[in-house]
């Protein structure tokens, strides 16, 4: 099965760029393509419990709904540990299913992917 990696680097400051990768990842899963989302930089805020609920960039569905769809469909959500630490976001504040990783894991995911899309 093909595998796509979506790298998210935007949060609340650019709601459209925060939403688009999750739109694409959900669509990938619905198209029989494996999908991993990697949150880096300010996108890591979106992994904090309740935070995604404040982002709804019409006409896209609310981000929290997309994240739920993504996880229900078997998507893998990775969150950059140094990016979390920079923002004082603790592991116990993250949504269920979010996996904290460092650069080596991200490199492995990217190297093994069919393709990578960065937002």
């Amino acid at each position: 099965m093909d595998k796509l990696v979506f790298i998210m680097t935007h949060g609340e400051e650019d709601a459209e760029k925060a939403t688009l990768p999750m739109v694409m990842a959900v669509t990938a899963l619905a198209s029989d393509v494996e999908a991993t989302v990697i949150m880096q930089s300010s996108a890591v805020w979106l992994a904090k419990k309740g935070f995604a609920k404040i982002i709804h960039e019409s006409p896209f569905p609310p981000l929290a709904e997309l994240v739920q769809q993504f996880q229900e469909a078997g998507g893998r959500l990775l969150v950059c540990q140094p990016c979390l630490r920079k923002r004082d976001i603790m592991a116990n504040e993250l949504i269920e299913g979010a996996v904290i990783v460092n650069a080596p894991t991200i490199i492995k995911e990217v190297a093994e992917a069919t393709n990578v899309l960065t937002y």
Partner: protein
């Protein structure tokens, strides 16, 4: 066109028609035909692309005004 089930996705925007289509097709038996109705203009290209990607057979497409009807046969 004979159909076994219908998914009315009118009013839904990307990515929800395809997300709901992927869920709905799992409920069908192999060989059954799903009627998908969308009014998202992108659906005209999106649904054939999804069928090509997943292997489900797009039997027929028709358009009535701004509404598209797709008949998709579930693959084995």
């Amino acid at each position: 066109m004979n159909k076994d089930d219908t998914l009315d996705a009118k009013g839904l925007m990307c990515p929800m028609p395809i997300v709901k289509l992927a869920k709905k097709i799992k409920e069908l038996q192999v060989g059954q035909v799903l009627e998908l109705i969308v009014d998202d203009p992108g659906g005209k290209e999106d649904v054939p692309a999804w069928c090509s990607r997943t292997g489900h057979e797009l039997l027929e497409t028709k358009q009535e005004g701004s509404v598209y009807f797709f008949y998709i046969k579930k693959k084995a």
